[in-house]
Symmetry: C2
Subunit: 206 residues, 2 copies
């Protein structure tokens, strides 16, 4: 009989990998790569290579008519454009909500009356320390977007049903965007709760 | 008024980034890092750094009583263990279903009578070309697992409700595992379809 989680040893001790030494093996303009020598639970040693990432924020903007604000952006590693929710990297020391407000405005021109936190996701746990905070935004007012230099992207609206169909059909495969649909469906079904507050109440700009 | 996708230019041409030159800037044991010079849609040039990844498979194993087979594994970049579905990298030239059958057996000891495809996800589109195939497995029979050397992980069972609660509470943040819940819920609600066949009918082992 397969055990349940409660039947297993508590905590991580029997799985832990301890750092023996840490070396930056690539210092790129965008990617920082570390190689650490680690000791494994059985006392043997091995290496772990991973990306050090500043973290990021995804914004799920909900229009007053219920439609969602999405983007289409070229993603060079895949040599094609992806449909995805707005997202951006944290500046050094920046709070997630501050980054969310900034990126929503820069990429789409929207400001939002209310924000709610959907926690976070870790998108590449084997080889990157990236975490992506999930923020929902509503009470949207449109203004001028302010793209970074060299940034090109389409902004458009779609219903939640379209989003779901596009994921089912494989037209959307971006992981964070798929997780946004999970959250939207759980929230609308009343299973998961969103706590809506003005950005300032979440500490934006501080 | 925000446009819909159908109102936007068709295709990627207005967003495309063209490769001007490509250089491998880090050849690690696990991570291969490329830096490409690219031309942007406005004719200016920039650089893109990204990981070249062989691709991976996630397996969502469903026990006859409806519970799911999960793992707890130490993920060094985050310095802690994560609850996640079984997954593994593709060997060179390996089909996704073959990898799924192999990884499920190696990591959990299970074989499955039937498999169904849930498409794929792209987990780090900004800086990795990784794609993760999503495979569901049922009709499970337990045998001996055969972990790779230096691989340590817990295997346990949990209900879909537990999985959902753990994601809502932030105890599970692994992106692929969150997407598995989206799929399970859509499938059980009759909204998304799974086509169940023996692994051989999907081309396993070929």
């Amino acid at each position: 009989m397969l055990p349940e989680l409660a039947d297993l040893p508590e905590g991580d001790d029997h799985l832990r990998e301890q750092c023996l030494s840490s070396t930056k093996v690539h210092a790129g303009r965008f990617l920082q790569v570390m190689r650490d020598e680690v000791s494994l639970p059985d006392g043997s040693s091995s290496y772990r290579e991973y990306i050090v990432h500043p973290g990021a924020v995804m914004i799920v903007p909900i229009l007053d008519d219920g439609r969602l604000v999405l983007e289409r952006q070229y993603r060079y590693p895949h040599h094609r454009a992806f449909i995805e929710f707005p997202a951006g990297k944290l500046d050094a020391g920046e709070a997630g909500i501050t980054c969310g407000v900034r990126e929503l405005l820069e990429e789409t021109g929207y400001t939002a009356a209310e924000w709610a936190s959907g926690g976070e996701l870790r998108n590449a746990i084997a080889y990157s320390d990236e975490r992506i905070e999930i923020w929902f935004a509503r009470g949207l007012q449109r203004g001028e977007r302010r793209l970074d230099e060299g940034e090109f992207l389409d902004v458009f609206a779609a219903s939640e049903q379209q989003l779901s169909d596009w994921i089912r059909d494989g037209q959307i495969t971006d992981a964070k965007t798929m997780i946004a649909l999970l959250w939207l469906q759980q929230w609308r079904a009343g299973r998961w709760d969103l706590d809506w507050r003005p950005a300032e109440a979440w500490g934006a700009g501080r």
